[in-house]
């Protein structure tokens, strides 16, 4: 495999079983540090603990720049997905360093924004709508019957959720 981040070049300044932190052989600018997973995976594909660990390392690596390089700020940048095995880049920043990451805004009309937001929401909860549709409403009579029975045993229900659900399920079984 020709992945540059699987066999990275540079000076390693921290290493553990799953990750490493290094100063790349060709740093982009002053204070450029990389945090890498040893696995050839995107961040989103890693188990959540490993992903958390990488960002903790990035956070501490960024913090180390303040003392050593008198950084006035830090950037943490990941080109997730565009690189198959992305590095977390950490850059040291100063007010007059001449770097600029400010992108050009491309505003879009409100209805287009709403559409995109809805699309992303759908992806986060892909089954949410279907789950709601699947629920069949119980026949009206049955509901009334259960409500009556519930009323009768109301005092006896202990208010822990498991208990309540259990009792409810019991009640539903009664014809």
């Amino acid at each position: 495999m020709n992945c540059p981040n699987c066999k990275p070049n540079g000076k390693t300044i921290y290493e553990d079983e799953e990750s490493l932190i290094l100063i790349p052989a060709v740093p982009a600018c002053e204070g450029h540090i990389q945090v890498l997973s040893k696995e050839h995976k995107k961040l989103a594909e890693l188990p959540s603990e490993k992903n958390q660990h990488l960002f903790h390392l990035a956070n501490y690596a960024a913090a180390s720049l303040f003392e050593i390089l008198q950084a006035q700020g830090t950037n943490i940048i990941v080109h997730e997905g565009i690189e198959e095995h992305p590095a977390i880049h950490i850059l040291s920043r100063k007010l007059d360093d001449g770097l600029n990451f400010q992108w050009e805004p491309k505003p879009s009309p409100p209805d287009e924004m709403d559409e995109v937001a809805q699309k992303i929401r759908d992806q986060i909860f892909p089954d949410a709508d279907k789950a709601i549709e699947k629920k069949e409403p119980a026949p009206q009579e049955k509901i009334i019957q259960i409500e009556k029975q519930l009323e009768a045993v109301k005092d006896k229900i202990v208010d822990t959720p498991e208990k309540e659900n259990y009792l409810l399920r019991q009640l539903e079984r009664i014809p």
Binding site: G73, F101, M113
Partner: protein, 314 residues
């Protein structure tokens, strides 16, 4: 004076808490969280919020922020930090699918010098088609000539900063400085139960042989004989070990260095300090320990034993 119109002098007279409170009150993102300003919400739970950026770099450009007002990333509490980055994984996948893009650039700015525009910590998820499609997001190529000389300093500082985090998460390992030569495994030490070890006159020289631990341990209990928690018990029952620590602390340190097992048993223990304490104790015993040990040795390590050893830690 109308509210919200503060002079510089007012600000100077305010405590840091009051200034923080004022920042929260005027923070745009706190207002969005509270619902005072509408935002195009993408995801929301009890701790975090994701909304679309009103000045997007590309379609689907999302901001992820904690609901609570924290100015910088390092100030986030551990559970919030973990939650935030775990949800980010899901958000990345959702944004990629929703915008039909192969990737997302995660952009975090800490401090105004890095381009942070609001005092409420947040970061950007910018959907990308390729590395060139959004201007200015590529890494610079200014180089860093002093990298070589700075590296050791950074490494030292980083190790220092990481230590508490690694200790807390159980990832801290003792630095592997010395690889001990393998001890010959063929020699079986004579098995003697602690009761059989006759107390020797205190100052009589003893043969310095490497491991005394195994003899006592193998036949007493099944569990790991080198569990550091067993050290107090061992010191009680194993006279030879005890004498060796008192009389030959330097030799003992050498042994500990050479044996991974001993290193485990003595981890975090300053042998010289221990030696000093034990010899003090030997000279002024507070209670007749040696007699007791005959009857108590079956007992597992007690809390008191641990506390005693705890006092020896640097």
């Amino acid at each position: 004076m109308p509210e919200g119109q503060l002079t510089e002098e007012d600000l100077r007279n305010m405590s840091p808490e009051e200034i923080a409170e004022l920042q929260r009150k005027n923070c745009v993102f706190c207002k969005i969280v509270r619902g005072g300003i509408p935002g195009k919400k993408v995801y929301e739970d009890e701790m975090i919020l994701a909304i679309l950026d009103i000045n997007p770099a590309s379609k689907g450009h999302t901001l992820v922020l904690p609901k609570e007002h924290y100015p910088l990333l390092p100030l986030l509490p551990l559970n919030l930090f973990n939650h935030l980055f775990t949800k980010t994984q899901q958000l990345i996948v959702a944004i990629e699918k929703a915008t039909v893009n192969p990737g997302v650039t995660v952009f975090i700015a800490n401090g105004a010098a890095a381009g942070q525009q609001s005092p409420h910590f947040l970061f950007h998820l910018i959907p990308r088609e390729n590395l060139m499609d959004v201007g200015n997001l590529a890494l610079p190529n200014k180089g860093w000539p002093q990298a070589e000389t700075i590296a050791p300093l950074l490494q030292k500082q980083l190790t220092l900063l990481l230590k508490p985090y690694l200790a807390r998460t159980g990832k801290l390992k003792p630095t592997p400085t010395y690889t001990p030569p393998q001890l010959p495994q063929t020699v079986t030490p004579p098995i003697a139960s602690p009761t059989e070890i006759k107390p020797q006159p205190f100052l009589q020289p003893i043969p310095l042989t490497q491991p005394i631990i195994q003899e006592v341990e193998m036949n007493t209990q099944q569990k790991d004989p080198f569990d550091p928690l067993r050290l107090p018990e061992l010191l009680e029952t194993n006279q030879e070990l005890r004498r060796m620590i008192i009389q030959q602390p330097d030799q003992m340190v050498q042994f500990i260095k050479n044996s991974p097992d001993l290193a485990k048993l003595f981890q975090d223990i300053n042998v010289h300090k221990l030696s000093q304490k034990l010899s003090e104790y030997e000279q002024h015993p507070h209670e007749p320990k040696t007699q007791h040990s005959q009857t108590q040795k079956e007992k597992p390590t007690t809390k008191a034993d641990l506390d005693k050893i705890g006092q020896l830690f640097p």
